[in-house]
Symmetry: C2
């Protein structure tokens, strides 16, 4: 399960999966043997999760509790420690994210059936498609808490969808676009190449906290998942990515009530600076640009055999256009 780039990722059963995938099979015998490296008790149940496009996931129940086993199909043992250490860090600060379990060597990352593998706590809840105002507020508060907790995380990770990527990806898709779209894309990429968000508070950002990466347990946030786009960045950018998804109304126009609820609650957990308030319209634009561009890329330049059904880039273009036209400065 990776990202809200070009393709719908199917976390929850209410989403119909277009491609059901358990890439690497794990038998009960394989897992029981592997679990002898852990202190999680004996294996009771194992179920493949037919969701995810870049990892293989299983629900695992042991005498010790409920877990998710992930076999990483693309991320490498060199890349993974940042993400696993980050989740462990956030969990020890009380943020409800999957907490990787350490093995008898005190390591989070193991290997199972030839793949890098990790077993982490399983969280409660399910993602919602139509969040209420209250849920947007809860989510805003949680995002602020996550940003605060991330401040003491020592590791850094460049944004894989930052300015250099925008430059490169936009060059590659321009030839597929109308003159109008091409002009829009170029001017926006040029605008944000100037890094207008420099100089505002930075830290660890999730960078993909769409509704389908959050498990709601009633009105409570039960879990934040899919940290594999997490990186160092402007915290405001993460807020904008989240608002662009959670608070979006029809026709790509932000719903004022949900937006205000999310921002107010975020602000209580992590107050914005004056500079952040000023840059909010630009943050919304670059957040919309990032997903418009990645969806264009995946639509026109699909990775070989990657997926059946790329996501439509159009909604994010509309969102971007509206942000430009209206400077949707719903603010405190």
């Amino acid at each position: 399960m990776r990202g809200n780039d070009g393709f719908r990722l199917y976390r929850c059963r209410q989403f119909k999966t277009e491609r059901m995938a358990v890439f690497t099979r794990v038998s009960e015998a394989d897992l029981a043997a592997w679990l002898s490296n852990y202190s999680l008790g004996s294996l009771l149940e194992l179920h493949g999760i037919p969701e995810g496009i870049e990892n293989t996931n299983y629900f695992v129940t042991t005498s010790g509790g409920r877990f998710v086993l992930t076999l990483f199909e693309k991320l490498t043992p060199k890349e993974l420690p940042f993400f696993l250490n980050l989740m462990a860090h956030l969990a020890r600060h009380g943020i409800p994210c999957p907490a990787p379990m350490a093995d008898c060597r005190n390591q989070f990352l193991g290997e199972l059936n030839g793949k890098p593998a990790c077993i982490a706590t399983r969280l409660n809840g399910h993602s919602v498609t139509q969040p209420t105002v209250k849920q947007c507020a809860t989510m805003g508060a949680m995002l602020g808490q996550m940003h605060s907790a991330g401040q003491s995380f020592a590791e850094q990770m460049p944004d894989p969808r930052g300015a250099a990527w925008r430059e490169d990806a936009s060059h590659k898709v321009l030839k597929f676009l109308s003159a109008q779209d091409s002009a829009l894309l170029q001017s926006e990429v040029a605008l944000h190449a100037e890094q207008p968000l420099d100089g505002i508070p930075r830290g660890i950002i999730h960078a993909d906290l769409f509704r389908d990466n959050v498990l709601m347990d009633g009105e409570r946030v039960g879990g934040l998942v899919d940290f594999y786009f997490a990186c160092s960045g402007a915290l405001l950018y993460d807020v904008a990515i989240t608002v662009n998804d959670w608070c979006m109304g029809s026709e790509g126009v932000l719903d004022a009530e949900r937006t205000r609820a999310m921002l107010d609650a975020y602000h209580l957990a992590r107050p914005f600076t004056a500079k952040e308030a000023e840059l909010w319209p630009l943050a919304l634009r670059v957040a919309a640009l990032r997903f418009w561009l990645s969806r264009l890329y995946d639509f026109y330049l699909p990775r070989d055999g990657e997926l059946v059904n790329p996501r439509d880039p159009e909604p994010f273009k509309r969102i971007l256009q509206n942000h430009i036209a209206t400077k949707q400065a719903v603010w405190l």
Copy 2:
């Protein structure tokens, strides 16, 4: 809440408390301000726990979850990191113990109202007074898992109730004892001064896993608590301490069925060595001696104003005598 030494410690509501104590008051305003150092959300509820003789404990509910706040009345900021790091280590290995939450400085230990303080996850379950055979098995497995998980913990802690303490404490209580009890105590202290348990597997031991330090959630172990006697030691000694409490029948004679269930389950999680099997009767004796002696000490030499109602040392004397007489070698 500290230890099964001379005094009953009141973890669960089914135990009548003889001394209800919240030594240090914490108001909602105090706590709300203190919680701003954490990423646990906003304070919803605060309840003092009228249990515990050495710490002040509160149940705390925040928008992020359920926690226990502990203000340490005796342990110092120099002593506490071992225990807090140990609990965090075990939690990240999936052992259900209170997981200390880190603050914005990434520290587990803070200060609140002038006392060292920590907030940790609240676990489910309640202690049982008459464990079933099944519960003894579950507990045995959990103890084996805890010992395995502790193997990768790097810190060490001498046993505060080891040979030197036995020597010292026995000297101090001898004058209060009958000639017969005095002879028994002296000969046992002398026997174990030879350290017959040297040379068997060692690691982190809880050293006080009596029934009242374990929360059972139905047949599942919901929580291991009160790690403030944890130290480095022979793993077999920890098994013997646990068996002496969980599997004891009437008249200080081990119940064979519960003992076998606990040992079998432990063995599956962490197989015994031949040397451990051979030393089992001695482990039971030294484990009984430790609690007979600490209860004698607290009975005859109560710390000033410490407690109202010391525990009766006699049951552990009977257990010790039975272990000597019968070499209760219930074994695999």
